[in-house]
């Protein structure tokens, strides 16, 4: 038996050594002269093909390696990335044309637009091949092919032709003049010289693409970095792209590590195993706030209100909610400022409408609903919910003022807010019951098919100057008849708003558009089909030696400007 005792001792000793062994290396990150930057985030990109699947983690990593022709800039204005100049009617790169019926050649009654782009001449794929119009045309072919498995096809389908002028210049032809015509050609070129082969059978493209089978092939990348190593589910390593002629990035290597548990992410940041936590997909806001309290000095923590709009959709078919007075009372009863202050450190400002305050078209001149329980009570009395039994309001028919609120189970921030809302509403006599579902059920069934009976709390990811047509137009109310298409889950239907939405879409004058957007926001805030809560804030936790990261707040990630990041 002593033998056993000895073995245990030896084992304990080995474990002890292993435990102490690596401790001395904790500060390794400091020692490597900051030639390498390790970024931590909570998601791993399932695929690296720019057109297959749609997830933030992918956009984030790709933006360092392959760039779109044009984007929305850090200043929320449209900017060229690979092109020389954005087409406008003023500079002559955009012009209208009369659409004719292809058979009879008779004008079809509408006007189209032709936009001319020229690619910069110092753009090369990582194998030295220049980026040309052939790559643009190929990307369009992939994008519009119904079997290629591209996530979002609409913008490609709207392009009826791309005319090649020369190796660098192309004209995008569309049959409709939308106000965002300047970005008609704003998509990511694909390396035709490598990928065209793989596209022979479009159905197999999503599996056969070199981005899947040989992602470290330098020819796939045209940004400041190219892919050096990928370990699915764990990390990707990017290295300098030798053929990049733009501003040289400061780091030789960028490592993006995925650690799904935010607790572990935070611990890794403190241990030096990662340098920086991406705000786009990193810590939750309250974790960042707590982190700032403890370790604020060593990190620059920036909170950016993003375009993720947290709100509550109301099912307007519910007789209780079809009364606008009840909807307004619901909002008056909430102290959204206190929620923001207490739960989110005041970093998440209260939203009045669905338009972000940084958006050019935002207006402050809308009806507002500050915390005012008296006003809420008054409105509810007017709406006929006068009698209070055991604290809950009832109407003359004896029906209780009871509603159901749903959200995604497992999203802690939402579940917390939801319980706070419930207690606020209880105080004015509204009985709100919570019922949550996993995200895939909630979005896949409940919201999409309008199965929620009362309130549904979730977020929309928006983009600057977006026309919320699919969300507010009455043609976009999902029904069985239209195969549940459309995202107007509230069932909101206002002819004036429908007209406005149609008009904004084709209004080319920016100032006129801004004023129309203003009207839209006023309708939104007075009809209240949706209870606005706030725009979600993203915490960027940057070590104080790392400079140049400028959070955008919109869907284009900071890595589009990764060559500007530097050590100071």
């Amino acid at each position: 038996m002593r033998a056993f005792g000895r073995r245990v001792l030896v084992l304990a000793a080995v474990f002890g050594l292993l435990l102490l062994g690596p401790m001395g290396d904790a500060n390794r990150a400091d020692a490597q002269d900051r030639k390498r930057l390790v970024i931590g985030m909570t998601q791993f990109p399932a695929t690296l093909n720019p057109y297959i699947g749609s997830m933030l983690a992918k956009s984030y990593v790709l933006a360092a390696m392959v760039r779109p022709t044009a984007i929305v800039g850090k200043d929320w204005l449209d900017r060229c990335m690979l092109c020389t100049e954005l087409p406008t009617f003023e500079n002559g790169r955009a012009e209208t044309w009369t659409v004719r019926d292809p058979k009879t050649d008779v004008p079809a009654g509408n006007t189209g637009v032709r936009t001319t782009y020229t690619l910069k001449d110092d753009l090369f794929w990582g194998d030295g091949t220049p980026v040309t119009t052939a790559d643009v045309v190929f990307a369009w072919e992939v994008g519009r092919h119904p079997e290629s498995g591209v996530a979002s096809q609409k913008s490609f389908e709207e392009i009826i032709d791309i005319e090649v002028v020369d190796a660098k210049t192309f004209i995008v032809v569309e049959e409709k003049v939308a106000y965002r015509y300047s970005l008609s050609g704003a998509f990511t070129p694909l390396p035709a010289h490598l990928e065209r082969d793989r596209f022979q059978d479009p159905r197999e493209y999503r599996l056969q693409s070199l981005y899947e089978t040989d992602p470290t092939n330098p020819g796939l990348w045209n940004g400041p970095y190219r892919l050096k190593e990928i370990e699915k589910g764990s990390h990707v390593v990017l290295t300098r792209n030798e053929t990049w002629k733009g501003k040289a990035p400061a780091f030789d290597e960028i490592v993006v590590r995925t650690i799904e548990k935010t607790t572990a992410l935070e611990a890794n940041l403190l241990s030096g195993a990662i340098d920086y936590i991406a705000g786009e997909m990193g810590l939750t806001l309250d974790q960042a706030l707590a982190f700032e309290k403890r370790h604020g000095g060593k990190f620059d923590i920036e909170y950016v209100q993003g375009l993720v709009y947290e709100h509550i959709d109301l099912n307007l078919d519910n007789p209780i909610l079809s009364d606008v007075r009840v909807r307004r009372a619901l909002l008056h009863a909430l102290d959204r400022a206190a929620i923001s202050e207490k739960l989110f450190g005041g970093k998440q400002g209260v939203a009045d409408t669905n338009v972000h305050p940084l958006d050019r078209i935002h207006t402050d001149d809308v009806p507002k609903y500050p915390f005012d329980p008296d006003a809420a009570n008054k409105l509810l009395d007017e709406a006929g919910w006068t009698e209070r039994k055991r604290g809950i309001r009832h109407n003359a028919a004896g029906e209780p003022l009871a509603l159901e609120i749903m959200t995604t189970a497992g999203n802690r921030a939402r579940e917390l807010v939801q319980q706070v809302l419930q207690s606020y509403w209880k105080r004015v006599g509204i009985d709100v019951r919570i019922r949550n579902e996993p995200a895939r059920v909630f979005f896949g069934e409940t919201v999409r098919k309008r199965k929620f009976t009362g309130l549904a709390m979730f977020a929309w990811l928006s983009s600057p100057e977006r026309v919320p047509k699919t969300v507010l137009h009455s043609d976009y109310i999902p029904t069985e008849a239209n195969n549940w298409s459309g995202q107007n889950a509230t069932g909101y239907s206002n002819p004036a708003v429908d007209d406005l939405l149609d008009a904004i879409e084709v209004e080319l004058d920016p100032d006129e558009r801004k004023s129309m957007f203003g009207d839209l926001q006023r309708y939104y805030a007075s009809d209240l089909p949706v209870l606005p809560l706030y725009f979600r804030a993203q915490p960027f936790i940057v070590p104080s030696w790392l400079k140049g990261i400028e959070p955008t707040g919109h869907q284009y990630t900071t890595t589009l400007w990764i060559e500007e990041w530097r050590v100071e």
Binding site: T262, T263, T284, Q287, K342, L343, G410, R412, I434, P438
Partner: protein, 318 residues
């Protein structure tokens, strides 16, 4: 033999009736007795939770944004959670749910296991083989991932009416049903073994000779004699079920907030572990105490009711 007192140490003469003898033996198992007392206290606390809340003037659902994550104080003996709710009150309410689920499932699983065990033991032959193979299979499978699939199944697709599935307590009942489905083999095995040994006794043969039907013999003659193993395995099962419930709820697949259970109270605690470590300690500690208490009581019962088999016993571990 696992007892705190060796079985050989029977100094006092044992009472004559088997029940009284068992009771005396149980009382000698100090840990089991202590555990039983603890469990009674927990059950009383859970049952009288509403009363306690009134006396202490706390409301488990009262959200107070201005008192988040507070430490312990006179107003909040165990502090407050991330919404400023009293943690003690939440723990009491969570205890109601966890204990109710544990006891219900154990009862259901024991019933199911008893029926299957009786059938297998009494029928013998192919039926016995089939049922026991099935039991072995259920025990040896990777249960947790399978349970996760089961929990994720859409009840509406199974044809359940929406009125049922939209009820707040539906998630609790679904959990009870699913854990019961996989919790029966332990009991089934014990009952089968008992049935096999009882089947050959004289009074069963006599009953058969009198022309009694198999169901009557099983229920009236065999079942009462197999009561001890059923009681023991049901007690041990309660602990296991509470563990299972807590794991599933922790993973976000069991009891859903705002209904508190000890398991789901720990879900959020992991993210707050730096700020409010005690939120991660209390619910887990209670699960631990209740589960170990049920296991010890089960051990005590086993030794009291069937001292010979106690040596080889070990609660099933999933």
């Amino acid at each position: 033999m696992m007892a705190s007192q060796p079985a050989s140490g029977g100094k006092r003469p044992l009472p004559v009736s088997p029940a009284a003898r068992a009771w005396t033996r149980f009382l000698r198992h100090q840990l089991a007795v202590g555990s039983a007392v603890l469990l009674v206290v927990f059950v009383l606390l859970a049952v009288f939770a509403p009363l306690i809340e009134v006396v202490l003037d706390i409301d488990p659902e009262e959200v107070d944004l201005f008192a988040r994550l507070e430490g312990s104080s006179w107003a909040h003996p165990l502090g407050t959670d991330d919404l400023g709710r009293d943690h003690l009150a939440r723990l009491l309410r969570g205890g109601q749910v966890s204990l109710a689920v544990g006891l219900t499932v154990a009862l259901a699983a024991a019933t199911l296991g008893t029926l299957i065990g009786l059938t297998a033991g009494f029928a013998g032959g192919r039926i016995d083989d089939l049922l026991m193979r099935f039991a072995d299979g259920v025990i040896s499978l990777p249960l947790l991932p399978l349970l996760i699939v089961l929990v994720a199944v859409d009840p509406a697709e199974l044809g359940l009416p929406e009125a049922v599935t939209w009820d707040e307590s539906f998630a609790v009942w679904r959990l009870v049903f699913i854990i019961s489905l996989v919790g029966w083999p332990g009991t089934a095995r014990l009952v089968r073994a008992a049935t096999l040994s009882i089947r050959t006794r004289e009074f069963v043969s006599a009953a058969k000779a009198l022309g009694y039907g198999p169901i009557r013999i099983m229920l009236l003659h065999i079942l009462p004699n197999a009561a001890s193993p059923i009681l023991v395995s049901a007690t041990l099962a309660v602990g296991n079920v509470i563990l299972f419930e807590s794991v599933l709820s922790f993973l976000g697949l069991g009891i859903q907030p705002p209904v508190p259970s000890w398991g789901n109270m720990l879900t959020g605690a992991q993210e707050l572990v730096w700020e409010a470590p005690m939120l991660a300690v209390w619910p887990g500690l209670l699960i631990f105490l209740v589960v170990i208490a049920f296991n010890l009581v089960g051990d005590g019962l086993q030794q009291a009711l069937d001292p010979k088999s106690a040596v080889a016993s070990a609660p099933a571990k999933n």
